[in-house]
């Protein structure tokens, strides 16, 4: 399952890994979709550079699974309102668990690769 991608020639992100990254960002603060995309790009130094719309199916899936919750916020200046997402308690636990799994995988991969 590898529909979210990074750059065309880069490594592929699985759906679960992509969700984990979003949870990691939302742990810092509430964000709306546009911000999530921008933060992913900036934090990863443009290594993770997805088609921007890709984040919305992932956000809706995480919300459907109860890991995040969304709410609308009006914006001044004639801009469309924004849907902000926040981590739920379930999401925090899933993030902790996912992060531990990721670390274990990374350690194993590093060992294999000799880095």
């Amino acid at each position: 399952m590898a529909e979210p991608t990074t750059r065309p020639d880069g490594p592929q992100l699985s759906r679960g890994e992509f969700g984990l990254l979003i949870l990691g960002l939302l742990q810092r603060r509430e964000m709306y979709g546009y911000e999530v995309v921008a933060q992913l790009r900036e934090t990863s130094k443009h290594v993770i550079d997805l088609p921007e719309g890709t984040v919305y199916p992932a956000l809706r899936r995480l919300e459907h699974d109860g890991l995040i919750s969304g709410h609308w916020v009006d914006v001044s200046g004639g801009a469309p309102r924004r849907r902000y997402y926040a981590l739920t308690l379930t999401g925090e636990r899933a993030l902790a668990s996912g992060r531990a799994e990721w670390q274990r995988f990374k350690t194993a991969a590093d060992t294999v690769l000799g880095s």
Binding site: E3, Y32, G33, Y34, V37, P51, E52, G53, T54, Y56, P57, A58, R60, R61, H64, A79, P80, R81, R82, R83
Partner: protein
């Protein structure tokens, strides 16, 4: 996407294109559209700002909108992602894959209309076959047949939906179905006066096939491919609905009764008059321990004595008959005037309601008139005809009920020297065309029914 539209309209059109390709629950649709539009709007604004003052010109604005749309992603890919986000993996992998949301296709190709008519005829055929199966088939065969028809109908409905979405898999699925329908329709046409309802549609389709290919290929060029592991079961289910119903009567039927479920006891009491002619009173006792569930289907055409289409048969013959010479009746014209008449004559006791019939009584001694309502013809010619034949409607059978049938036969003339064997009565019970149980009794020995070979034509 038209470049002549205002930027906001173009952004909204892009959102619409995505949602048209996604299977999103209605309650989420507006929210999602607003959220996606908000993103595109902000990206457009940011692109315009970063492009500087020139972005206020028409070309700059155009570029900013293009950049926002391009960076957002392909509508088809995003649409599929949204389908997976809102539905289970199983749904997305089956229904979602078979019936993907697509943008407005415009006018349907005329050849696609023909395919839809063909699939529609399959649906009608499924309904007709299900109705026939309900009226004729026994439980296991009915279950298998209905399951095949229901699954086939589901595939047909999916194919109709897919044709409405210009999906190539539905076009390909039609080909084996057309071939099977053609073979079945021709076989039915050759075997009798019946004609399959979709045979005409099949013939018309085959005639049009050479011209259909290019048009359908063009029409389905935007089709989403489906996996082989999904396509093969679909074809199997569709063809199952076409092939299983005609084969159902030949399937085994585990619920059917067997000879062990039927007990048949026969005895004969004889007296000899002063001229040496024998009178035999033959009695058969019949009991079913259990009966076939739904011998005529779940919705039988008729279950009472008058309307039942399915009968058991009870036949009786008294032997020996020295005048009986079957070989002289095969392929020969019977000389009625030379016919010496039967050697044994059925003389009674006549049923009070049905003249010329044996007496049939239930366990309480009361008459069972329904059993003798279908008294078989007694073709006495030359002793070839059976003295007595009853047709027993399936609906009148009762498990555990002891039924007694009594006949009186009278010897009509003295036995020739070659016919000195002791007389015996043969009682045969045919359970539909499934099996035959036969009991034999002489004037001194009773007999118990045992299964014998199927009925010979002259016994039926």
């Amino acid at each position: 996407m038209s470049a002549g539209l205002a930027p906001e309209s173009r952004l909204r059109a892009h959102v619409q294109a995505i949602l048209e390709r996604a299977s999103v629950p209605p309650e989420h649709r507006d929210d999602l559209a607003e959220e996606l539009y908000g993103h595109l709007w902000q990206r457009w604004q940011d692109a315009a700002k970063s492009a500087g003052p020139a972005a206020d010109g028409s070309d700059g604005a155009e570029n900013s909108v293009e950049a926002a749309i391009r960076s957002f992603g392909d509508p088809g890919s995003l649409g599929r992602d949204f389908t997976r986000a809102f539905h289970s993996r199983m749904y997305a992998g089956t229904i979602g894959a078979l019936l993907p949301a697509v943008a407005d296709l415009g006018d349907e190709a005329p050849d696609a209309v023909m395919l839809r008519l063909f699939f529609g005829s399959l649906l009608v055929q499924d309904i007709v076959l299900a109705f026939v199966a309900l009226r004729t088939l026994t439980p296991f065969r009915l279950g298998v047949t209905l399951a095949s028809l229901v699954l086939s109908a589901v595939v047909v409905v999916l194919a109709l939906g897919a044709l409405g979405r210009a999906q190539r898999w539905a076009v390909r699925l039609a080909l084996p179905a057309i071939a099977v329908c053609l073979v079945e329709g021709c076989a039915e046409l050759l075997s009798g006066p019946g004609i399959r309802i979709n045979l005409l549609a099949v013939v018309a389709l085959i005639a049009a096939l050479p011209a259909m290919g290019p048009e359908l290929a063009a029409w389905t060029k935007e089709s989403h491919p489906i996996r082989t592991r999904l396509g093969i079961p679909l074809a199997a289910l569709l063809l199952g609905g076409l092939l299983i119903p005609p084969l159902a009567p030949f399937l085994p039927e585990p619920t059917a009764v067997g000879p062990a479920d039927l007990s048949l006891h026969v005895n004969a009491a004889c007296t000899v008059d002063g001229s040496g002619l024998t009178t035999m009173t033959a009695t058969a006792q019949i009991k079913w321990d259990r009966l076939d569930p739904w011998p005529q289907g779940a919705l039988p055409v008729g279950s009472d004595a008058l309307t039942s289409p399915v009968f058991d048969g009870l036949y009786t013959t008294v032997l020996p008959d020295p005048s009986f010479d079957l070989s002289s009746y095969i392929g020969a014209t019977v000389d009625v005037n030379a016919d010496p008449g039967p050697y044994w004559q059925f003389v009674g006791p006549a049923d009070p309601n049905w003249s010329g019939a044996p007496v049939v009584t239930g366990p309480d001694g009361a008459a069972l008139p329904t059993w003798v309502m279908f008294q078989g013809g007694t073709a006495w010619s030359g002793g070839l005809g059976v003295p007595s034949g009853l047709m027993v409607p399936q609906g009148t059978l009762v498990a555990g009920q002891l039924v007694t049938v009594q006949w009186v036969f009278q010897q009509q003339r003295p036995a020739p020297a070659s016919g000195k064997n002791p007389p015996m009565v043969v009682v045969s019970y045919a359970h539909m065309d499934h099996f035959l149980v036969q009991g034999v009794a002489t004037c001194t020995n009773a007999g118990v029914g045992v299964q014998v070979a199927p009925l010979a034509p002259w016994q039926q």
